[in-house]
């Protein structure tokens, strides 16, 4: 782990983190983000249009995501849909947040709040 990670960065809101996660693999439009978050959380987090775009505006302003000027290949040509892409900065921020969560989980594990990681998981971290 790098030195900067020893300081705990400020946590992201759950919603923001989930939106960033949705954009890691794919450039998505608004409704697809909502669907992706809902399916990943088993319906536990259902964004509304307003919560989504409140976050989208801030993410755009922070430069963590950007709007695609071209449509992804094969996407339906619905003109109302805007596709968003994770920027390099956004990816770094999401990674930092994931590290922070991982550190927290490790602390919980040390306190035996969580069971120790399995052998395979340990190997994967090497």
């Amino acid at each position: 782990m790098s030195d900067t990670d020893s300081r705990l960065p400020a946590p992201l809101s759950t919603q923001v983190f989930h939106i960033l996660l949705s954009l890691v693999d794919d450039d998505l439009h608004g409704y697809a983000i909502i669907q992706d978050v809902a399916s990943r959380t088993d319906g536990g987090l259902r964004l509304t249009a307003s919560t989504l775009y409140a976050a989208v505006k801030r993410l755009l302003e922070s430069g963590w995501i950007e709007e695609r000027t071209t449509r992804p290949a094969g996407a339906p040509t619905d003109p109302r849909r805007r596709y968003y892409r994770l920027t390099r900065l956004g990816r770094d921020v999401a990674r930092a947040e994931a590290r922070r969560l991982e550190q927290l989980a490790a602390m919980a594990r040390a306190k035996r709040l969580l069971p120790p990681l399995g052998a395979s998981a340990k190997g994967a971290r090497a």
């Binding site: 608004g30 509304t48 249009a49 775009y53 409140a54 989208v56 619905d78 109302r80 849909r81």
Partner: protein
Amino acid sequence: MTDYRLTGVLRAYRAILAMLLPADFHRKFAHQMIAVFAELEAEARQRAGRLGAIGALVSELPGLTRLALRERRAERVSRSLSPGARSTGQGMFESLLQDVRYGARSLRRSPGFTIVAALTLALGIGANTAIFSVVDGVLLRPLAFRDPSRLVAVGEQSSSAPGAVSVTSPANLFDWQRSSRTMRIAGFADRSGTLIVHGEPQLLDGTQSIGGMLQVLGVPPLFGRLLSEADEDPASPPVIVLSYATWRDLFGEDRTVLGKSIAVDGTPRTIVGVMPPDFSFMGEPSAFFVPAHFDAGFRANRDQYFIQAVGRLADGATLEEARVEMETVAARLRRDWPVFDTNLKIAVQPLQETLVGSSRTSLLVLMGAVGFVLLITCVNLGNLLLARAAIRRREIAVRQALGAGQGRVARQLLTESLLLALIGGALGVSIGKLFLELLLAAPVTSNLPRASEIALDGRVLAFAFVVSMVAGFLFGVVPALQLSRGSSSEVLRDGSRGSSSHQWTRSVLVVAEVALAMVLLAGAGLLLRSFALLQRVDPGVRREGLLTFSIRLSQPNPTFFPRALARIEALPGVRAAALVSQLPVTGRGIGAWLNRIDRPLPAGVNPTGEAYRVVTPEYFSTIGIVLERGRLLQSTDSKDAPAVVVNAALVRKYYRDEEPLGKPIYLGAPDNRLFQRASIVGVVSDTRDAGLGNSPLPTVYIPTTVMPWWNRFSFVVRTQQDPIAVASAVRAAVREIDATLPVRDMQTMETVLSTAIAPARWSTALLGVFAGIALVIAVLGVFGVLSYIVTQRTRELGIRIALGAAPGQVRRMVVRRGLALGGAGIAAGFVASVLLTRFMASLLFGVTPTDPLTFAGVAMLLALAAVLASYLPAARATRVDPMCALRAE
């Protein structure tokens, strides 16, 4: 560009966005937000219909409000940093926000009023929310099956209740299945069985599936598979599908149960699937599902009626086409099977209607009743707001003098009412939750069809929200209009005296209130009278000191029941014990065709099916059925020439002017008779088996010796003292004979009878509570208005007394006024009641919907309430000190 369908909900969303969002944000994102919301809305609409779409809109509101507030704050900050940049187009929102803030402040200034108003509203909205949850879960929500609107109930048209769908025989079901092109038809039947639950044998209600019934309903299993038609081949291995509850209780949610075996009535069956937790089968819990194993003989059986059929309409087929098709099928069956199917008519009905039809009226009456309570609450709040108006006139006049237009003032007042309604609504939802829990704790509610689907969910919240807004508008609009009119200068000059049109409005409101209360009281009164009459009905049995329970053997065992009876009779505290195939008052029981051998029916005419009950000879004396003629059954009666006893209702139907004793009869279809020939040896008194509200059914009592294979009996045990005291001894006695047999439904006859009238008691109690609330609110309304009028007329009354009017005269004057208001309300309410109570005719017993006694009683009660409500203000009027009254001006 906007190619999505602009539904009302979408349009509302678009308007709300335009109103709330700052221009900048709106320009950038509104388009996308609408597009996303359109998808969410369509999704919700597909899941839960129009209410679901409204729910989607409601769930957008909190986030949207937060977003709007934050963006506007940010905009204000940036504007103050760069002066000169002034955006436009937000006056509407700013002033709305101002109205809300002002309204909130004004409500906070009069906490007493706010608390009383919010609480009464909360009660009204809470009651509405709770009852709506029940109505929604039972009546409105589509059944939780795949494509439920395509599911129908198919059955023989019942002769007793036209339009109702009744059971059919295996052979008929298979005929229908083969001939139908418009439907895939399947059937199901009760199949209770004994399973070992935690070491204890328990008789559980199961279901037998015929023709792939679970597949027709189309609910995927939680895991494993559903039963298929192949499982119904008698040669295929016995399998079973468990309900979620059974799986949880027996296997602790162990996912590896597939392939394990479980014994039902001692026969092992392989578990092939588990149903999901929310699968409620036909509104009744079923612990497990097994395929029917009918052999060829049984598949051809035409005189055992026990199968309920369901069908799924084929793609493109309509209900009407299915009905026409079944009519031709019925015509053919009538021709092919004249003995069995002479009168056959096949009914096809939407499944949902079949499941909930019986509870529809009482639920709708209750919904109407809570609606009325809320209306009365609104009227009363409107009145309260008008009373406040006297205080607020000056404040409003000042605002008007400062340049606020009429519309602005009206909107301000309406915003305040809506705010109040929203507070009441929010409180009401929590109260509604409480009400709903109380309702669901009542055994009657949990016995409603589909009771498991009742929940306070998004649909109900949307309903509560809409009701609150409507209520807020209803009680807010009259005062708002009243107050915003009138010229400000006049008010400022004239002091706080109210205008006469104002008083007139309040009187109209009071009359409406009394009228609404009258309708509710009339409805409750009618139910109360019905219930009293119902309770006075003689069930035909002596209920005191009777213990009952039932036992079902998995295999016929001719020695078990006689041994159990002997054991129980020998217990201390027991006077007598007997067996009956089904307890009185609990339903029709089993029926069979009845034929008089001495007077055969003309060829081609079917005999009618009458109820029969299998009993031991001591049954009549034990339960208190009286011998009217002839003799009772005896243990010495021979099995070959059976003696039977019939009830008086059967004699009335078949032997009007004849002597029934000694007449030969037979039961059952000609080639499959329960017995060939029996003689009537006695006539006994009637019991109300089809419910206390229905007339006695013709019944034949058959001795157990004729049917030694009968394996399911209810015991009736007459005890010396409290039947509950011997219950555990009885249980132990049964266990001594066979420790594996479950004893079911052990209860007193008293309980059996009160269960029979529980639904009536429930609706009576609920409507009674609502009517009581309505009465109290209406009395408060009359009281409030008269107090107000007295206050307004203090000066006039003071002068009258100063001029020598006797206190009695003044009192009479005020009371007369109260009576006039009350009388007008009673008259209006009378008309409305006559129009409305006929909708509850099917809930009544022994009284007509316009029962004069009830109407007169209710009118008297209201008149008395009006007198009481006017007497106090009248008394105060006489205490007016004339000098004081004059000085006050």
